[in-house]
Symmetry: C2
Subunit: 129 residues, 2 copies
DNA sequence: TCCATTAATGTAATAACATAACATTGTTGC
DNA sequence: GCAACAATGTTATGTTATTACATTAATGGA
C-alpha cells in the first residue's frame, strides 16, 4: 500500500513503520530495509525527516525511535501527545485541546513562539499492569 | 556551594550545571570537569542519573542535555514542563496543574500508570524574536 | 573490631544514534 | 537539450550512552 507523493525510500520507510506494532529506531529500520537495497543510515534519516515534516511519522524523543502516524490522513498541526508502555513498548497517540490551550497560554504570556512541542508519558499500560 | 548528601562526582556535576545558563550535554560536562579529575563519560552519566532521580537536575529529551533544577529546594514530583529557545538555548521550567490534571485523566481512563512524563516546547523566546 | 554488605568509583572498550561532505542520478520545466 | 533543483548513494566521522569488570569507600551489625 503505497502513499501519495512519496519517493522510493520514503515509501519503504513508512511502510516498514506501518507494519510495526512498536516504535523502531533508524537502525532497526535500516536492518529491515537492507534487503530492499538500503545501505546507509543517512538514507533512513533523510526519509524520516521528510515523513515527520509531512506528519506521516512521528519521532519519540524519549526513545530515539519513530512510529507511523496513527491518523495518516489528517495532517493536523496540533499538539500530539504519546503514551508509551515501558513494558510492551506500545504507543498511544492522542491530543487534548485543553492541554494545547494551556501551553499556548504559557507561550503567549511570555511572547514565546512555539515551533515544536514534545509530550510523552512513559508508564505501564493496562494490559501490562 | 556544596549540596546536602551528594558524593564528590555528583557535587561536581551539579555545580557545573548550576553555573551554566544553558543546558549541557554529558560530554560538555566531561570537558569542563576533566581539570577536576573526571576522565570518563560514565562518571558523568552516573552522577546525572542520581541527580535526576533526586530532582536536582533534569534531562531535556529533545536536546540530550541536562539542566540544574530551577527550584532545587522543592523536590516535587509533579509534572515539569520546559520551554526551550532554539536561538539562545535558554530554558524556562514551569508546571501547570491543569495540564497535569488532563494527562492524569487520560491515563486513568485507560488504566495507564504514568512513570515519567516529558513535556518540552521548543521555540523562540521573546528576546530572540 | 572485624567482617559482610552495599554504594560509589575508576577504566577500557564498545554500542547506539546522528550528521557532514561530496559525488551522482533523476525530475521538472523552459 | 539544458538549467535548476530534489533525491540518492557512499564513506567517513561525530555525538551520545552503556556494558563489563576491577577497585575503593561507607555502613551496619555480630
Amino acid at each position: 500500500m503505497s502513499e501519495q507523493n512519496l519517493t522510493k525510500n520514503q515509501d519503504l520507510v513508512l511502510n516498514q513503520l506501518g507494519k510495526s506494532k512498536t516504535p523502531m529506531s533508524a537502525y532497526d529500520l535500516l536492518d529491515k530495509l537492507r534487503e530492499k537495497g538500503l545501505k546507509a543510515p543517512l538514507q533512513i534519516y533523510r526519509a524520516l525527516d521528510k515523513l515527520t515534516e509531512m506528519g506521516l511519522a512521528h519521532r519519540l524523543e524519549t526513545l530515539n525511535a519513530f512510529v507511523a502516524c496513527a491518523h495518516p490522513n489528517c495532517h493536523e498541526n496540533e499538539l500530539i501527545a504519546f503514551g508509551i508502555c515501558e513494558n510492551c513498548n506500545k504507543v498511544w497517540e492522542f491530543s487534548d485541546d485543553e492541554v494545547s490551550k494551556r501551553l499556548d497560554l504559557w507561550a503567549k504570556e511570555r511572547d514565546f513562539t512555539p515551533v515544536k512541542t514534545s509530550l510523552e508519558i512513559r508508564g505501564i499500560c493496562a494490559k501490562c499492569a
